[in-house]
């Protein structure tokens, strides 16, 4: 009985906070838009009964998503932006994680703190701060003009470049922490053993360090890729009109068009797309844990 209760608690939690909302969204995605409150029909009515209600649901909105090329372009563009920024985050994050893991033991908690510290302020404020840095009159352009590298301010804000900068900056800790955890666990004598057996520093890194931090790299990539795919705040604050991301489309459908059913359909498809990497991520985590045992 005790065991049942213990297991039931997380299941009830997941059921109430994930499955139920998802079913609601799914239901809305199968409804039709209406000028009403809430802005969709049908509404469930006890008098007419459940069958009458279900018979009014249809897949019209999903058909619409396929017909209008805006949506699949937005999905593809999000996918491309998410993949690229995941790669960029990896390139920036790996050396940082490596440096942290190689730092003297007494420094590591401080370095870890510095990585986590930005989370203590609002994400929104930090993204706004980037507006100040990247704008034409911003710190970055002033600095570049001062050094004489450029004569005209660079247009960075409101471009896809700014979106990449924003995503890399925001999700960097998610990349650093799992890689750091993998590298920190690694026994230093493995590198010495590799060198002893004829490896140069560089080949020891490729043949030993990289394979042994693979789990951390994969975890970090998923932790960046999954939220970046549906990212809304960064493209709408830093990106330009040409930055097409599905999160932004979703927002506009909900709040500008007030077309909740189409917006819900967009959300459902996004979720289905993300289920694949999420399952892969889970599998990776499981393999890592088995490897430790």
């Amino acid at each position: 009985m005790r065991r049942f209760v213990l297991i039931a608690v997380p299941y009830v939690w997941l059921l109430a906070l994930f499955l139920v909302p998802f079913v609601i969204v799914l239901k809305i995605s199968l409804s039709d838009a209406a000028i009403a409150r809430p802005p969709y029909v049908p509404q469930f009515d006890w008098v007419e009964g459940i069958w009458a209600f279900l018979s009014q649901l249809d897949f019209e909105n999903f058909t619409w998503l396929i017909e209008d090329d805006l949506y699949w372009k937005a999905y593809l563009s999000s996918l491309q932006i998410a993949l690229t920024s995941t790669l960029l985050t990896l390139i920036v994050g790996y050396p940082i994680a490596y440096g942290m893991a190689r730092a003297p033991q007494e420094w590591r908690p401080t370095l870890m703190m510095l990585v986590i510290l930005p989370f203590w302020t609002s994400f929104l404020i930090r993204v706004y701060a980037w507006k100040g840095i990247l704008s034409n009159e911003g710190f970055l352009n002033q600095f570049l003009m001062w050094t004489g590298l450029v004569s005209e301010p660079l247009q960075i804000l409101n471009t896809t470049t700014a979106v990449y900068i924003g995503i890399v900056y925001t999700y960097l800790p998610f990349m650093i922490l799992p890689i750091y955890a993998a590298l920190e666990r690694m026994d230093d004598s493995l590198i010495e053993a590799a060198e002893d057996l004829g490896c140069s520093r560089m080949s020891a890194f490729w043949l030993v360090t990289i394979p042994l931090s693979k789990g951390g790299i994969i975890a970090g990539c998923f932790l960046v890729f999954i939220p970046a795919m549906g990212e809304f705040v960064i493209p709408s604050l830093l990106g330009g009109s040409d930055t097409l991301m599905i999160g932004k489309v979703l927002w506009e459908e909900f709040f500008s068009n007030r077309d909740w059913p189409v917006a819900s359909a967009v959300a459902v498809i996004l979720l289905l797309i993300l289920v694949v990497p999420i399952v892969l991520f889970q599998r990776n985590q499981q393999k890592e844990q088995e490897g430790d045992a």
Partner: protein
């Protein structure tokens, strides 16, 4: 019978013509203010099984890491086969190391672990396969070739580490506390395996250990170290029977150390005045000691005879009371308190069942030993 059948004794260190494989020349290593190795000079010969023995922090691991190339000497030179190895990086030395933690690559199978060094050499595939098979056979690991390191036992891992470090046929193999992680029984078996493999491959082994029994079992010579200095380098038998200092005598095995003033009474014969009123002890010892010098008699417990009656004609006899008995199964060590308050240990083989033991606590007993039983060590 005789001379022509005798096996030549392996002791290149007594041959002035022999060229040592490794030479440490006045090597000093400092880490900041700490001196890990202090002006060390030592020769190690080809095919030797050389043990570095000492308490932790005595510098033995630093010495080994200098040979592997992970540390550079602060002063002095190290020669390997006549060549100064200071500028040679670890990946280009004909030296391989077996790490204390084994340092097996967890993402590679046993087979790939052993092949790792060979692949780096750019050896052809077929030769790698043949060499790996040979190593697997040598260490009796054929069945485990496809497993990952976490899927085999500690003893097997130890053998993989050995196979991996031997695969490249190094001139010199370094073993850093290789058996530390094994339980006693397995350790003893593995010690003989190691000696066997060393003999088969003819590789020079340098082993670092803090376990004196291990050093005595496997090594052709033992270097006893303390505080970055080598105190004595000798064969296990000499280290045990003829220690050159009370540190070595005390570090290796169990010993009774009796302090006193020595006076020469004949050639190599000394009388040690060790207590006011007690008869001086007679010692025959090769170490030259000047008259009146303070010295220690070092005598092993097994060389002290214990008896209920006063023995006739013994060189040294003292009387005392049994204070403690350490029963080790095959042996018993009696701690005997003399009237002067000194405690002397005497060890005897338990040839009788314990219920028929001749002496017990509080019994008055006689201890005796011959003049040649111990050595006299100047302070």
């Amino acid at each position: 019978m005789g001379a022509d059948l005798a096996v030549p004794v392996f002791e290149p260190w007594t041959d002035p013509q022999a060229k040592p494989l490794i030479q440490f020349q006045n090597v000093t290593k400092r880490f900041g203010d700490f001196t890990a190795i202090d002006d060390l000079t030592i020769d190690i010969f080809e095919c030797e099984f050389f043990a570095l023995l000492g308490p932790s922090g005595c510098g033995k691991t630093t010495m080994m890491r200098m040979l592997a190339g992970f540390e550079a000497p602060t002063e002095g030179k190290i020669f390997l086969a006549g060549q100064d190895i200071a500028p040679v990086p670890p990946n280009q030395r004909a030296v391989n190391m077996m790490f204390q933690s084994y340092a097996l690559f967890p993402h590679l199978s046993i087979w790939e672990n052993i092949a790792f060094g060979l692949k780096r050499e750019g050896m052809p595939r077929a030769e790698i396969a043949a060499r790996v098979e040979e190593m697997l056979r040598l260490t009796r690991l054929e069945k485990f070739a496809r497993r990952k390191p976490h899927q085999i036992s500690g003893g097997q891992r130890q053998r993989v580490a050995l196979a991996r470090s031997l695969a490249k046929a190094p001139k010199l193999l370094l073993l850093d506390e290789p058996l530390g992680a094994l339980d006693r029984k397995l350790r003893e078996e593995t010690q003989f395996e190691l000696m066997d493999i060393q003999e088969k491959t003819g590789t020079t082994f340098v082993i670092v250990t803090h376990d004196q029994e291990e050093a005595m079992t496997v090594a052709s010579r033992v270097a006893v170290m303390d505080n970055g200095k080598v105190i004595q380098v000798a064969t296990p038998a000499d280290i045990y029977e003829a220690p050159n200092s009370s540190y070595v005598a005390d570090f290796i095995g169990d010993v009774n150390l009796i302090q006193g003033q020595a006076t020469a009474t004949g050639e190599d014969t000394y009388a040690l005045h060790w207590r006011e009123g007690a008869a001086p002890l007679t010692i025959k010892s090769p170490n030259a000691i000047s008259d009146g010098q303070t010295a220690h008699l070092a005598i092993r417990p097994e060389k002290v005879t214990i008896s209920a009656d006063k023995p006739e004609g013994a060189d040294n006899v003292v009387q005392g009371k049994v204070l403690d008995i350490a029963y080790l199964g095959n042996l018993s060590t009696y701690h005997v308190e003399l009237p002067t308050g000194d405690v002397i240990k005497a060890q005897t083989a338990n040839t009788r069942r314990i219920s028929r033991r001749a002496y017990t606590w509080e019994d008055t007993v006689w201890l005796s030993w011959t003049a040649t039983g111990g050595v006299l060590l100047a302070d």
